[in-house]
Symmetry: C2
DNA sequence: TATTGTTATACTCTATAACTATA
DNA sequence: TATAGTTATAGAGTATAACAATA
C-alpha cells in the first residue's frame, strides 16, 4: 500500500515529517522524556531520581531555599516537596532548619555527606547529558540552554 | 539575614543562578511542564489533552500510523494508546482499520469531523505556542526546534 | 486573615504481565 | 516463536482540601 518500501523496522521514521514532528511542544515533550529517563537511570546508582537530585542540588548550593521556594522553582506541589525532603533527610543528606526570620518556614541545608553524594551524582548526570548532546556542538549546547531558559522562566 | 532585601514575593529569583538553574535537563523539564500545562488548558475547550491531540494530529496527517508506531513515536506504552484511541473513536474522530498487509495491526484513519476538530484545536495550540515563545525571535524559534529535534530523535 | 509545612485522599499517568489473534 | 493489540492491575506521579503553627 505504502509507496515507499518498508525497509525500516517499525516505520516510525515517516512520522517525523508529520505536522506533529515539527511541533515545538511535542519535540519538547519527547526530548524531555528521553532526557529524564536517561537521567533517572544514571542517578539510580546514587539512590536518586531527577526530583531528589534537583532538591539536593539546590540544597548543595548555598541558596538556603525554603520548601515553598523549592516547590515553586521545581514546579512541584508543596506536599510533594515534603516527601522528597523527608527522604533526603532520613538519609542524612540534608537538614531542615527553621528560618529564624520566619519560624513557619523550613530552610534546607546540605550535610557533608549530602554534598559529597551530590558531587558524585553531578558527575554521572553531566556524563549522561554530554551523551545526549553528542549531536549538538558545544556552542549550540549553550544556545539551547539560553533558549530553554526563555521558555522556562517567562518574565 | 539575606543580603538583598526580599522585594520579590517568594524569592525564587535567586535560585535561577544556582547550578541547577543552568542544568539543561532541568530547563528542559521546567520548559516542558509550563508548555504542557498551557497546551492542556488551551486544548480543554476542544475536549482534548496534549496526548489525545498528538494522536489526532498523526491520524489527521495521512501517515496512517499503526498503534505500535504511535506508541513508539509518542513514547507511550501500547496499552496507553489503546485507551487514547478508544476515546477518540468513541467520539468518532478517528477509526481503526485493520491493516490488510498485516491483519494484526490497526491503522488509524481520521474522520471528517476529526479533521475539522483538529484544525480548530491546532489553531488554539498554535496560539498558545506563540504566546510562550513571545521572548524568542522567529528565527530562534526555528533554531530551537532544530536543536530539540536532535535531542528528541537521536540517531 | 494569610501563609508554611504537613497529612490525607483521590485522581491521573506510567509500567508490567498475561491473554488473543495473527504472523 | 514472535508481534499487534487488548485487558487488568499495581505503582508512581500529581492535584486538592483540610489542619496546626506562625505571621
Amino acid at each position: 500500500m505504502s509507496p515507499i518500501g518498508k525497509t525500516q523496522p517499525t516505520g516510525t521514521a515517516g512520522l517525523r515529517d508529520s505536522v506533529l514532528g515539527r511541533d515545538l511542544s511535542f519535540l519538547l515533550a519527547r526530548a524531555n522524556a528521553l532526557t529524564l529517563a536517561a537521567a533517572n537511570a544514571a542517578l539510580a546508582q546514587h539512590g536518586l531520581k531527577a526530583r531528589s537530585y534537583s532538591v539536593l542540588a539546590l540544597a548543595a548550593d548555598d541558596v538556603r531555599p525554603t520548601q515553598r521556594e523549592l516547590a515553586e522553582f521545581l514546579r512541584l506541589d508543596p506536599s510533594q516537596v515534603v516527601a522528597l525532603v523527608d527522604e533526603l533527610e532520613k538519609r542524612q543528606l540534608v537538614e531542615r532548619r527553621t528560618d529564624p526570620a520566619d519560624r513557619r518556614a523550613n530552610v534546607l541545608v546540605v550535610t557533608d555527606t549530602g554534598r559529597a553524594l551530590f558531587a558524585r551524582a553531578q558527575e554521572s548526570a553531566h556524563a549522561v547529558e554530554l551523551g545526549l548532546l553528542a549531536a549538538v556542538t558545544p556552542q549550540d549546547h549553550e544556545r539551547l540552554a539560553e533558549l530553554l531558559r526563555l521558555l522556562a522562566f517567562p518574565t
